[in-house]
């Protein structure tokens, strides 16, 4: 168990290091997020009221698109040079390999989110600094959900033809309950009318989602990686 967690950290560190060294997928998905924000602002030019009403939705759409790009790379990063084979052949158990990948994707997506949140605030003239801490909690929980499900599907689709098409088709429907929670909570936080009971209800939803899918993925991943 402990060895598995250590190996997971090694792998997460490796992923983060290579990613921060080349900054390729980070730049790409951050600029993708920005481009989408701009596109949205063209597509929907709305008044202030409506903007607040859809702010959570907008934010999580952008985050889930950026997230799909990041998790798409998660296992795909191991394909050149057949590194995935080497990882699977090593004594590292499959679940810790998976966990390492999910952790790395989580931090990468957090970085992208941290970049695009202020831009979002500026662009749509939405102030979020007042609810920073609860927002951070929401974002972290929902981001972990996106990345853990995403990394799992990334492992599933890594050898599939049309990976870049198949991943979103599978991923988004599974994420819908999570996104509903994240969007609802964020909208209420940003519009400043959040009851404590509602908040707890949303948080419970997010945590339940994260827990269920993390457990499922960790348990099933060995079957997927070695067939």
């Amino acid at each position: 168990m402990k060895r598995g967690l250590l190996a997971a950290l090694s792998i997460a560190r490796k992923d983060l290091k290579t990613e921060l060294r080349t900054k390729e997928s980070l730049n790409a998905s951050a600029s993708f997020a920005l481009v989408i924000l701009v596109l949205f602002s063209f597509a929907f030019d709305l008044d202030r009221e409506s903007i607040y009403a859809i702010s959570g939705g907008l934010l999580w759409l952008v985050y889930s698109f950026a997230g799909a790009l990041i998790v798409n790379r998660s296992f795909a990063r191991e394909l050149p040079n057949d590194c995935l084979d080497v990882l699977i052949a090593s004594p590292t158990p499959a679940w810790s390999l998976f966990l390492g990948k999910a952790i790395a994707a989580f931090f990468l997506l957090l970085i992208v989110e941290a970049i695009s949140l202020p831009v979002f605030g500026l662009f749509y003239n939405i102030s979020w600094t007042g609810v920073f801490w609860p927002l951070l909690l929401t974002i972290s929980l929902a981001t972990w959900g996106i990345t853990v499900v995403g990394a799992a599907f990334s492992a599933v689709t890594v050898n599939v033809r049309l990976r870049e098409l198949m991943l979103p088709v599978l991923l988004y429907p599974v994420l819908i309950p999570l996104l509903i929670g994240g969007m609802g909570m964020t909208t209420q936080l940003l519009s400043g009318n959040m009851a404590a009971a509602d908040r707890n209800q949303y948080l419970r939803q997010l945590i339940a989602f994260d827990a269920i899918y993390t457990a499922l993925a960790v348990y099933l991943i060995e079957f997927v990686l070695v067939v």
Binding site: K17, N81, D82, C83, V86, S90, V227
Partner: protein, 233 residues
């Protein structure tokens, strides 16, 4: 105890049996050349032995344990078609990472000595991306031999290598043999293989049709084996 014991292994790709009851046993310290035509199942068998794939039926034991066993996996080395190192890490970072994943005592020291062995010590901080093909191949060899594995699986290791790279690989392989390591390699370059091999096995449509000592005929005439035990042209 046998180093590799394959007992009537079947592997289906769908309903197509790529391996149909292949059986093979390799003594510790032997060097086995696994020959066979395209599609005979060499890669499939090696992947099962390296724990990258599971047999459908039958059993493949490495050093007496199933190949997905964690204890065994520490003692296996595998070199497939890909070089298996990260382009965006430096040579030494790559090896340290694999050292950690192999749960070695001292990954840093092992990485340095492995780089020494393949002659990359002076470029150890260069990114693998910037290496020439020959250097990358050496790094791959260093990676596969990093933890001094007891059993080695090599899939067409000589393909597309030039004379110098072949020389490095041959040297490292004979060092491993001298240590008492067991080697199983597939190849189409029968001449190169015969020089190293002590044993030969011929795979034909998923079955081992011949296994035994390498004899003088084989060295002299590379197609002898196919002609004697294989199907007609």
């Amino acid at each position: 105890m046998l180093a590799v014991a394959v007992d009537r292994v079947w592997k289906y790709f769908g309903d197509y049996p790529a391996l149909r009851g292949a059986s093979l046993s390799v003594e510790p310290g032997a060097c086995l050349a696994l020959l066979g035509r395209n599609g005979a199942g060499k890669t499939t068998l090696l992947r099962i032995l390296a724990g990258l794939s599971k047999p459908g039926q039958g059993e493949a034991l490495i050093l007496g344990a199933p190949s997905r066993d964690e204890g065994v996996r520490k003692r296996i080395g595998y070199l497939g078609h890909g070089i298996g190192v990260y382009d965006d890490l430096s040579a030494v970072e790559n090896l340290r990472l694999f050292g950690r994943l192999m749960e070695m005592e001292n990954p840093a020291r092992a990485a340095d000595s492995a780089l020494e062995r393949v002659g990359l010590a002076n470029v150890k901080d260069g990114l693998a991306r910037e290496f020439s093909r020959g250097m990358r191949q050496r790094l791959a060899i260093a990676r596969a031999f990093l933890h001094d594995p007891d059993v080695l699986f090599l899939d067409e290791p000589f393909t597309s290598l030039d004379d110098r790279a072949i020389a490095v690989l041959q040297r490292i392989l004979s060092e491993a043999q001298a240590r008492g390591a067991t080697i199983v390699m597939s190849t189409h370059q029968i001449r190169e293989a015969m020089e190293l091999a002590s044993q030969v096995a011929l795979l034909e449509r998923g079955r081992i049709v011949h296994a035994g000592e390498r004899t003088a005929e084989m060295l002299a005439d590379p197609t002898w084996l196919y002609r004697t035990f294989g199907e007609a042209q």
